[in-house]
């Protein structure tokens, strides 16, 4: 009986194992420590407001950009300040919305970590685009993972400087 079950399971599982695939696409994962090394500031905080505006970037793209104001609760790298404004591509003006595949969207009240650098106009933008922002849940974990704020802090403070 056991042999019969095994034979049948192999018939089912064999083809599934063969068609197993690797990962999909649009960005190369960068370790937390490496993200911190390249960032001018790394802060944790709560989003207090999101204001969308039209901007033309260095390439001449006319885009909607959201200015995300963060009430900083912890500065892990760089100069500290009570708030930081981070400009993130995408947002809504009126009924028109721009979505950007490698950027997160934010709403007031959300907790997040920001790895930021200054752009040519001196405004803060996420370092490494989408990988420069990490959302946190109420327990201080990265949603959908087991990664905690404490672990990120260790990575950042241990390798950023």
């Amino acid at each position: 009986m056991a042999r019969q079950i095994l034979t049948c399971l192999l018939l089912v599982l064999g083809p599934l194992a063969v068609v197993g695939r690797a990962l999909g696409a649009d960005q190369v994962p960068v370790p937390i420590g490496e993200r911190a090394r390249g960032a001018e500031r790394v802060v944790a905080g709560r989003v207090s407001s999101v204001t969308a505006e039209w901007q033309t970037n260095d390439y001449g793209d006319r885009l909607i950009v959201s200015v995300v104001r963060v009430n900083v609760t912890e500065t892990m790298k760089g100069e500290s300040s009570p708030t930081v404004d981070v400009e993130v591509e995408g947002g809504t003006i009126g009924t028109l919305t721009l979505g950007v595949s490698d950027q997160l969207t934010f709403t007031p009240g959300e907790r997040a970590l920001f790895f930021v650098r200054r752009n040519r106009r001196g405004r803060f933008v996420p370092h490494l685009r989408g990988q420069g922002t990490i959302k946190l849940d109420a327990a201080g974990r990265v949603p959908g993972t087991s990664l905690t704020l404490d672990e990120i802090r260790r990575e950042v403070t241990g390798r950023a400087r």
Binding site: R3, Q4, I5, T7, C8, L9, L11, V12, L13, L16, G20, R21, A22, L23, G24, A25, D26, Q27, V28, P29, V30, Y59, G60, D61, R62, L63, E89, T95, L96, T97, L98, G99, V100, S101, D102, P126, H127, L128, R129, G130, Q131, G132, G144
Partner: protein, 212 residues
């Protein structure tokens, strides 16, 4: 003792039920929210790039775009021809282009514009200054095949977000030279069909009629 076909079929059914339960997440795909009002749209290509002749890049982009029509029969991107445009904005022109700049760790980025629940414009930028691109399915070294990255980005352009399934084309990160992304996962197909249900097949004849 060899299992009989009948008893084996029963075990296969049981195994599939168990497997479905263990693999969980029957719906790992994520819908961005908006969708095109019709199941097809046209796009233009500025194929000027640093890595290969424009015609080769154009063919690779077409293959990536066709992925969704050929493998899921749900949405079709129609190549509308070449473009010399180098900027991306909400102008009603869906554009795919290469940009000789870097954008952090992003290999490519899709920008989609929508008004209410209707997508009205989508543009795709390949970050050619940061990564080397290849076409076809061999010869890649330390870069990415356009066909695979395009399949993923066109998925965004039709309204899919990032899947949580690591085997999906719409999973957010990639390994260099991976040529498996161009093959849609069942999760990708479920996602696109949730947005654009495939047209029903023609009705099967129920009887024969002899026409003389």
């Amino acid at each position: 003792m060899r299992p009989s076909i009948r008893s084996c079929s029963a075990w296969i059914v049981v195994a599939l039920i168990v497997l479905t339960g263990f693999t969980g997440e029957p719906r790992a795909y994520v819908l961005s929210g908006p969708k095109w009002p019709q199941p097809q749209t046209r796009y233009y290509v500025n194929s000027a790039n640093l890595d290969m002749p424009g015609t080769v890049a154009d063919a690779a982009l077409r293959a990536g775009a066709e992925t969704w029509a050929l493998q899921a029969s749900a949405f079709r991107f129609l190549n509308a021809g070449p473009s010399s445009q180098t900027t991306n904005t909400n102008d009603g022109i869906n554009l795919v282009m290469f940009r000789s700049g870097s954008s952090g760790s992003a290999i490519a980025t899709t920008y989609w514009w929508y008004d209410g629940s209707r997508i009205i414009d989508a543009d795709i930028v390949f970050w050619d200054g940061a990564f080397r691109f290849f076409a076809g399915s061999s010869g890649c070294s330390g870069g990415f095949y356009i066909e695979d990255i395009a399949a993923h980005e066109f998925g965004h352009a039709l309204g899919l977000g990032h899947s949580t399934s690591p085997t999906a084309t719409m999973y957010p990160s990639a390994f260099t030279c991976d040529s498996s992304i161009r093959s849609l996962d069942s999760d990708d197909i479920s996602g696109v069909r949730a947005l654009y249900p495939p047209e029903l097949p023609p009705p099967t004849p129920t009887g024969f009629r002899i026409v003389r």
